[in-house]
Structure formats: structure tokens, C-alpha cells
Amino acid sequence: MFRSRADVVFWIVLAAVFAAGIVATQTWSNEYYFTAIYAILQATIMAVAWNILGGFTGYVNFGSAGFFAIGAYTAVALDKWLGLPMPFLILASATICGLMGLGVGYLTLRLKGVYFAIATLAMAIVLETLIVNWSYVGGSKGVYILTPETVPFFKSYIHLLFVVMLGLALAAIAVSRYLNASRVGRGLAAIRDDETAAECTGVPTLRLKLISTTLMGAMMGIAGAPYPFFVTFVDPASAFNLFVAVNSIAMPMIGGTAHWIGPVIGALLVGSLQEIMTVTISSAVNVLIVGVMLVLFITLAPQGIVGLVQKWHRRGKR
């Protein structure tokens, strides 16, 4: 964990950000920032998670909404059944979605490239139909989650959710960074570049892919677990929304998929943009801007922002 100075700096920054978050909840009175930043943090976790399988390993997952929604609904079901506190719900969602990820990992044995992507899309639709037909969690009618009026330590429930999400997001980034630099990460990169060659040189491709998909699944489940408590009304149509899937792909692509910081930059940039536009221009133009941004970045800067930065860096060195 503390192999180099860079690591020390990273952990200091992480701790500082978390501390700043807690201080903010005690000093800022406007709740708006917390609700807006919550959405951005959620997007960050999804983007980081997606990138583990998509950017690091090279398998495109179209079914992000499926993992996210199952994470959300697991939390709903356990909350209704046992009334467990938040940490347990998050753990449960992580486990269930991690297992889902494991299953998807085995899928990679049979399917590559676009076939895999289509399979994940099909999986998300099947899951959505299952939830729609499960009346315990409300089915297509949706389900209401009542949040407590007062919470210990914080002024309101939103502050608590914000801090929880901040912690989860920072943890996800740390895991992603660790993965990127580790032996596992190098193995994943080898799989991304040429899976057959990797297998031939002795890289344990199946094991690494399973680690990758399980991690991705667990993280997306974690992003989904607090969602019902944030929005207080969940229904399959909004939980399994296509936008969730698109954002989880677009953000890493815009930020840069090869590096751990890419999805973070992408999520912060695009997420903030979306939140700002919701309360300024506020109309169909929002979606247009995201679409145009995506197209522009993909065509002009395929390596994302990280790629651009690296190019300037190299040019500077000459």
C-alpha cells in the first residue's frame, strides 16, 4: 500500500478529501450541494467500476444498469424484510452483485467482444423483467422508502448519505488505482491487448477476468445500495434506465480508459456538467450536450482527457 511517495501523496489527498467532506456537512447549510454531489459520486463509482472491466480488461459491459438496480433492490428487499442498517445493506448488495459479476465472468469464456456486450444487455433486460414481476419489492408499481427524520452526528439524512457515498467513492478509486498498478492490473492489460497471446504467455486469464468482473459487479452494487434512500421512490423503469448504462460508458471514455484516474475525471466533469445544466439551461438541450460531447471526444480524443494530458506531457518533454 505504501510502496512509494506517490502512494503516500495519494492517501493524504484521499484522507483530506474525506475530512473536507465531513467538515462541509457541519458547516455548509445548503443541502443542495450535497444532493448534487451525491449524484456525481454515484456516477464516479459506476464509472470506476465499469472501467475495471471495460478499460482495464477490454470487455464492454452494456448492462451496468442491471448491477446498479439489483444493488438498489437488494437494499430495498432487506430493508423491508429485516430493517437492517445501511452498512449491512451495502455489504449485502456488494455480495449479491459481486456474485452476479462472477457469473458474468464465466460468460466471458464463451463470448468475446460485441457478443459479450449484447449478452450483458440481455441480462439487464431479463433482470428488469424479473423485478417487474416481483411484487414484494413493488414490481412495476415501485416502492417507497421512508427515511428517518433525524440522524446521529449529522444535521439531516442527506448529509449522512453524502458522507457514506463519499467514503465509498474514495474506496472505489483506491481499489481501482491499486488494481491499475498491480500485477493483476498488468495481467488485465495483457488480456485487453490480446487475450490469446496473454493466455499463451501464462497469464491466468480466467482467474483475472473473474476478479475483474466480480469487482465491477460488487462496486456497481455498492453504488446502487444507497440509491433507494436518496430518491425514496424506486421503480424498475428508473432504476434500470438506459441513461445509467450510457453514463457508465461515456464517463470513462471521455476521461480515458487506460488509467485509473480517467473515469474519475470523466465522472466529475460530465457529472458536474449534467448537474449544472439541470439547474441552468434545463431542457432537452442537456441531453444534446452530453451526446455532442461524447461524439466530439470519441472522434477527436479517443484516449480521453488522460490521453490528451499525456500527449501534452510528452510534447513538453521534448
Partner: protein, 419 residues
């Protein structure tokens, strides 16, 4: 020595987070004089057709009231944002409206999905919350400052379809069997639940009780399956595209039921009415306001005339009979309450709203203790004499006869449905 590269990267991450936070700090100063009413509205996404129409109606109210000198002597301003029919956008919007924009009053967005997510926030801030068309939202929250302008009634889910079944049971011979079919979505499922209760209460046997996914393209197999069970009456709870599909399929299959309709959203919209034309004849469906002589409430025709002008070329329903009058009315309720208590004290407003009968463009409005209408006024209308390809025929009376409730009845039912 710290590795510059890694420090730069870590710094970039922190910087990006700071940028994100900083970008959200609003630069605008707070305006004191105008009276601000804040809300989110579905201007894009699935519910945008209704959302945009509602906004037009609300703007008309705002112009009307500002011409009269405003509210409490202050000009009224709207602060609103598009929630894109995504529930996740609603909490941040209402947080901003209340904490940053510092609006004086809030009202809701349109639709259960968009109203519910705002509830915890308005409840915490103890704000009066007039709401626009959500089914039984307050059943869960039990908030005493919630007021729903949709005239569903004190038990919304059951009251919604009660009239349909009462009409059915008035016929001779009494129907014995019913088929219930609903789209897999929030409102239709709730409506179907209520329909089931009503059917059982009236002793009808339910011979078909299924739901279908909203993305269904072809409804002929579903209607055929219903027809195969030979129901006496059919209750459908659907959204606009499925309502069109069901009506067309019923016609093509030759559905022999004696009564058809019930809870079909979409049959109230002008473009759909025009397209379906004579296929609509004898369908009995819910509605909230139609241009029948029994529903000529003070101000409603003037309002609709203004709406027609404002809605031109905006890509929304040109007549605005369904939602717009209620969007205007719920602001009238707010206006009358503020003027009555002469302040913005939320507690006083809430008390006034609970005990007063308001006169609005949709008639008398009185709320019960749970914020729903004290008495249900879900109309059941029957389409009659509808001609092909004629939009204007729906602007006036005679095409949608009110059958229920008795107070607003404008004609008798034609039964059975199949001529």
C-alpha cells in the same frame, strides 16, 4: 522528493473535485421583491407531453395573477427546472429551490414518480406541498401539508375505478364477469388493484387478470386472449401508446364485451382522439374535465381559450382539457389561501387549505384530512357520435357524455359497447 508526476495526478483529482464543488456555487444574488414559486417539471422524457402542457397552464395563471397586482403585492415569479422524468433528479432540484434559490412557495412536479422523491425534503422543511396528479402518494408519507389536485378521492386507488363498476352494475341484466388488464407501470398497476377490489365488492367474477410490458407493440394477441374468456365487461389501465393499441385491437378483433374502457390514459388527448375517431364510440373511460354543459365552471372556458392560443405550435395537446385546468386550479388554491391568511406562514396555509372549500376553474375543491379530495370526482365519460378525422369536434360538447357521478351527468349510457 515527492514524485512530481504522481503529485500532479493526485492534485488533478482533488482539483477536479474542487472544481465540481465550486462550479455549483451560484453567483446570483438573492432577489427579495418578487414572490418565487419553485418546482420541478417533466419537460423532457416520458411524461413531458403532460408536463409541458401543465407548465403552459401555470404560466397563464402567473400572468393572470400578476395583472391583478400579484400575490401579497409582490409579482409572482416561477423558478423551475426540468427533471427529465427521472426521479433521481428531483431531490437535488428541490434542495436547490429551497436552500439556494430560496423560493417562497413550492409545488410539485407531475406524476407519482416525480412527486414522491420530493416528499422527504418538503416534509423536513415543513412546507405546504400542492401536488399535481400523483396517485396515492400520501398513503405512504401521511404528510399533513400535502394537497393533491387530482380528484381521485379519499381512497384514491379504489375511488379511481369505482364509477366504472357502479355504472356496470346498474345495467339490466347485471354483468357477471370482468377482465382486468393493465400496463406494467406504476399508475396502471395501482388502478388495476383498485379495480380488482371494486369488482370483488360487486360480486363480479374476474376471468382475466394480467399485465403487459409497456413496450408491447401489438395488442391483438392480448385482446384475443381476453375475448377468449368471454368477459361481460373489460377494465383497461394503460398509458397513451398502449391505450391506442388496445382500442385499435379491440376493434380489429371485434371484442364482444358489453363495456370497454375504464382507466386508459391518453384517450383524453386531442391528437389521439382525432386519430382513433369512430373507434372510440361507446368506450367508457375516466376523465377529469370535458366540455359538457354540466361542467361549465366559472373561468374554465376563458382559461381554455387562453391555453389554446398559448399551446399553438408547442408540440403539446392543443385543447388542454385533461391536465391544464387542474394545473391552473391548484395554483388558484394556493393563491386564495395566501390571500386569505395574508402571509406565507406554511402552518397557517396548511390549516386554511384543509378547512376551506375553494372555487376554481374545475369547480369546488375541498381536501380531506389526507390531502386528497374529500369526495371523489373521477368522471366516467362515454364517447359518442365521433366522426372520422375531425379534431375540432372535441372542442365542444356532445362527444364525451358524462355518465358518472350523478351530479355532473349529461346523458345516459349506451350499453352494450358493441353495436
Amino acid at each position: 522528493m515527492v514524485n512530481r508526476r504522481s503529485f500532479a495526478r493526485a492534485f488533478a483529482a482533488a482539483g477536479a473535485l474542487a472544481f465540481a464543488a465550486g462550479a455549483l456555487v451560484p453567483a446570483a444574488a438573492h432577489a427579495q421583491k418578487p414572490l418565487k414559486i419553485g418546482f420541478s417539471m417533466a419537460l423532457t422524457g416520458g411524461l413531458a407531453g403532460a408536463g409541458k402542457a401543465a407548465l403552459i397552464a401555470m404560466e397563464i395563471w402567473r400572468e393572470d395573477i400578476n395583472k391583478k397586482g400579484g400575490l401579497l403585492g409582490r409579482q409572482v415569479e416561477f423558478v423551475y427546472y426540468d427533471d427529465a422524468t427521472q426521479p433521481a433528479k428531483v431531490p437535488p432540484i428541490y434542495s436547490k429551490l429551497i436552500d439556494v434559490d430560496k423560493v417562497d412557495l413550492v409545488v410539485s412536479s407531475y406524476g407519482t414518480n416525480e412527486i414522491a422523491p420530493a416528499m422527504p425534503i418538503v416534509m423536513r422543511k415543513k412546507l405546504v406541498f400542492p401536488s399535481l396528479f400523483g396517485l396515492a402518494v400520501n398513503d405512504e408519507f401521511k404528510y399533513n401539508r400535502y394537497f393533491q389536485i387530482m380528484p381521485a378521492g379519499p381512497e384514491p386507488k379504489v375511488d379511481w375505478s369505482r364509477g366504472y363498476f357502479e355504472l356496470a352494475m346498474e345495467q339490466n341484466p347485471k354483468p357477471k364477469t370482468v377482465a382486468i388488464v393493465a400496463a406494467d407501470a406504476e399508475f396502471p398497476i395501482n388502478a388495476a388493484t383498485g379495480a380488482r377490489k371494486n369488482a370483488q365488492a360487486k360480486g363480479l367474477k374476474i376471468v382475466y387478470d394480467k399485465t403487459y410490458p409497456p413496450a408491447t407493440t401489438d395488442f391483438t394477441p392480448i385482446v384475443r386472449a381476453i375475448e377468449a374468456t368471454s368477459p361481460d365487461i373489460v377494465y383497461v389501465a394503460s398509458y397513451p401508446p398502449d391505450s391506442v393499441g388496445m382500442v385499435k385491437a379491440a376493434n380489429e378483433v371485434g371484442l364482444k364485451a358489453k363495456m370497454f374502457g375504464g382507466g386508459m390514459v391518453g384517450l383524453q388527448f386531442a391528437a389521439i382522439q382525432k386519430n382513433l375517431g369512430p373507434l372510440l364510440n361507446n368506450v367508457v373511460n375516466y376523465d377529469f374535465w370535458v366540455p359538457e354543459p354540466t361542467l361549465k365552471f366559472p373561468g374554465v372556458n376563458e382559461f381554455l381559450a387562453k391555453y389554446r392560443v398559448a399551446a399553438k405550435d408547442k408540440g403539446v395537446d392543443p385543447f388542454g382539457h385533461y391536465l391544464p385546468p387542474f394545473a391552473y386550479a391548484y395554483l388558484q388554491v394556493l393563491e386564495q389561501s395566501v390571500n386569505a391568511v395574508k402571509s406565507l406562514d406554511q402552518d397557517k396555509l396548511a390549516q386554511h387549505m384543509h378547512k376551506t372549500t375553494f372555487q376554481t376553474v374545475v369547480g369546488e375543491v375541498k381536501f380531506g384530512s389526507n390531502g386528497e379530495w374529500a369526495r371523489s370526482r373521477v368522471l366516467f365519460v362515454q364517447f359518442r357520435d365521433v366522426q372520422k378525422d375531425n379534431l375540432d369536434q372535441f372542442a365542444g360538447p356532445g362527444k364525451r357524455i358524462v355518465l358518472y357521478p350523478k351530479n355532473w351527468k349529461s346523458g345516459d349510457i349506451v350499453y352494450p359497447y358493441r353495436k
